[in-house]
Amino acid sequence: SFIDFICVNSMPLMNPVKMGKNKGKSQSGATPASTANPPPQKSPEKPKQAAPAAVPEAPRVNDVEQIAEQVNNLHMQNGEEANRGDVMAARKAKAAAKAEKAAKAAAKKEAEAAAKATGEASTAAEPKLESEQKKGANQPQGKPEISREEAIAAQKAKAVQQRAAAKSSDKPKQQQGQKEESKSKSNLKQAPSSPNDSVKEVRFGVTRSESEENLMKAMIHAEHTNVKIDIPLRDIRDIIHPAFYPLVDRCENGENEGPDELCLHFMECVRQFIRKFSYPDAHQLGEMMDESLNAQLRHLSQEDKYPLPYALGNIIRQLRKEIMQVGKTDDKGRTTSVQSLMEWLDDSEQQYFSLANSAISQHLQGKIAAATKIVTYNWCPVVNHVLLDSKTKGSLKKLTVLDAVKNGPGIRHLTSLADYPGYVEYGDLTAVGSIFERGSLVLLGCSAVLSSGRVCLPRGAFQLALVARAANVPVLILAPTYKFVDRAQAATRFALLGKTPLDILPPDLITAIVTDIRLLPPSSAPAVLKAKALDDAN
């Protein structure tokens, strides 16, 4: 990844190469004879390997800032962007250090040969090795004083790793030991030719402890051998910060009823986390907090196996930006403190949720008053807010709530409107053919709005929108701006929400998207993203 290349430019080549070569030499006995590499290779590597934090040398101070800056500018929420960033940086690095690459390639080949000699599956080894190299390469750019936090994280990761290893077949266990060697052997900066080959991209670009690396490898290998290690939420619980326990518990119980509640709950957990986080050096507080949060997020998303829900990703990005500012003095001499961070959290929660919902409701009152019937699907708190508002204003006439199966999440709309004297119907998706009458209006909540104008919705909303369009009934999507995401495609499985199946509604089935700014056609999604980016930059 590109962070590797930053380090390539700034740090002497010797160190990572030395570490790699040493481990290879001691473990497998193969002699990596690379002429370009400098000689000293016989420092003791065993204790290094055993230590959970295998940090070779303290990088220089400006490296840290560079790295921090890169992290800030990452905007990495998806693999595509990471690859782009990687490729860009890779091209720079390519122009800068060609000889080093030749050396690396040679060393890598030896490592691969050694790995093959130790009997690993050859086909699976290569992509794994590349990804491991990348991850291993992230190690050397570790920050100096994180040993305490890493130690804790490493212990927890070790526990998980052991459990995971016990769960999976024996093969990954054996491979782990071998992989450690091969990874450490080839702990080099990989040629930038194939950023896309890595199975797992490092999303947030922070150091990992070695046991976490091992866990990573085990999982990668398990996937290659079709043994699924799906770390259940209760195991994640053991390795994350206690502040996130309630979140994980709720998700495991299935109480989380959608992305909105998840985001709110997450922000609450983050508040707890920030309160409990302490670090001696005030200047580094922000970065340390950010890294620690990062580690938690990685665990929650199971090492990026499942992406976090997109709307949550947006919030997290903003949050991390703010966190990085903590302890730093800006141009005018003001220092951001933890207190201001908490204030920012409260502010943004209000802005993203309550104020946005009120604004959306405001936009819709006129439309609801003109409609004879409102149709909605599944549960969405924004839709509920709008319905309650229109009930108090007296503009709600008939209401139909549909669900995929009876007694689904949509029932919550009915119970919240229990005292509404008007006509309310409830049905499942088979009733969709008979509910549309003249003057109906469909209101749907969503999980995310993609930059192509598509909208991610709970499964079954596609059918509803199809039949609505055939009946000439307008379909409005209610989406506060934090749900707008800078991706063009969507995954189907998300961390924390389990295997939530999503329908992706194409723009021709959507009449308009109602945001807190205004009503927009779905083709204006990129404009909203741009407006958000400008807003954030200020």
């Binding site: 029932i411 998706l429 055939a470």
Partner: protein
């Protein structure tokens, strides 16, 4: 169950006709498990045979009046069963034909009401309005009604034999409600014998439906839109076909048909001849399953007071979403259904208000 009760009724020598009638209607309106349409059609035909055999009538008009009375009684108690209506109307047409045949003779060409005006003008006067004697008609009519029964029995086989018209190698077939339509189930089983299909998906309420046959995998209705990208053929059961080519199908089929239209997947409806109705019926289209389970827990009863729980039985699927009807007389385009109506129904019966 129908056969059992009818058999029970046939035993005594002196037949109370009211008893026969109430038995028939009871079987129509009973319970929550509706018999499949073929059984209902057969029961109706047997009922008509008894009417023709037992009732007294002197001429064609009286016979038609008798039939109409019985039909009104049946409709008032089971208004959504259009199959019963169809069978009665078919019988009425046969009665008229029998009448003309008895008058004029088998060989002569009878005045077909769908003939051109010129032909009708030139036809012999008086022959159209005369009526044969009741007793003469009775024999012929009973034979004709028996023929309906034969056609009913063979309709299923002829539909099932048309598998090759519809399905091909490596098809992924999406179907609905395989349990409730024996014709559909036999169709698929016959298809599996002769054609190697890639997959058969059956839309059902729950994913582990015990009634789903083992050669079909269950899929829930909300996943249909996503699965439609892989589907090559959609096979849907039909309750009633209306003269414009639109069909009354089990509820949920409308969204399946729309999803199929979006992905340009052909939709086939399986409809035997007795399902082709000569007129549209809004009552059936709005029919509600009053006997089905509500599906909500009792603890919500308070907060859900005065709320309407939707459970429609049927969806009206418009003709432009359907590609073909597989009927016993062949594969029919929806826009050609009106031609079949001429084969089975007489226009003068259709103008009557039932």
């Amino acid at each position: 169950l129908v056969a059992v009760i009818m058999a029970h009724v046939e035993a005594p020598l002196v037949l109370d006709f009211n008893e026969i009638r109430s038995t028939f209607v009871h079987n129509l309106a009973k319970g929550h498990q509706r018999e499949n349409s073929l059984k209902i059609a057969q029961a109706s035909v047997n009922y008509i045979r008894k009417i023709i055999a037992q009732e007294k009538y002197e001429n064609i008009d009286e016979l038609l009046e008798v039939l109409r009375n019985h039909l009104r009684y049946a409709i008032s108690l089971a208004p959504t069963e259009l199959v019963v209506r169809n069978v009665f109307l078919i019988a009425m047409k046969l009665a008229r034909e029998e009448n003309t045949r008895a008058l004029i003779g088998v060989d002569k060409e009878v005045g077909n009401p769908y003939d051109s005006l010129n032909t009708l003008w030139k036809a012999e006067e008086g022959s159209l309005n005369a009526s044969a004697a009741g007793k003469k008609m009775r024999k012929g009519l009973i034979a004709a009604v028996k023929e309906i029964l034969v056609e009913l029995d063979s309709s299923r086989e002829s539909i099932v034999s048309r598998v090759a018209d519809v399905l091909q190698l490596n098809d992924t077939v999406l179907t609905y409600g395989v349990n409730s339509s024996p014709t559909l189930r036999l169709f698929l089983e016959n298809a599996r014998r002769t054609i190697k299909m890639r997959q058969i998906l059956s839309v059902s309420a729950s994913l582990e439906d015990p009634l789903c046959p083992d050669y079909a995998s269950s899929i829930s209705l909300r996943d249909v839109a996503g699965a439609m990208t892989d589907v090559t053929k959609v096979l849907l059961p039909v309750s009633v076909v209306f003269p414009d080519g639109s069909a009354l199908m089990p509820s949920g089929c409308l969204s399946i048909a729309h999803a199929a239209a979006r992905h340009a997947v052909p939709v086939y409806g399986i409809a035997a001849f007795y399902k082709i109705a000569p007129f549209f019926s809004a009552d059936s289209a709005a029919a509600v399953n009053a006997q089905g389970a509500i599906g909500l827990p009792v603890k919500l009863a308070d907060s859900l007071r005065h709320r309407v729980i939707l459970s429609p039985i049927f969806d009206v699927v418009p003709a432009h979403l359907l590609s073909l009807y597989i009927s016993n007389s062949g594969a029919v385009l929806p826009s050609h259904i009106y031609r079949l109506i001429a084969d089975y129904y007489h226009p003068e019966d259709l103008t009557e208000e039932l």
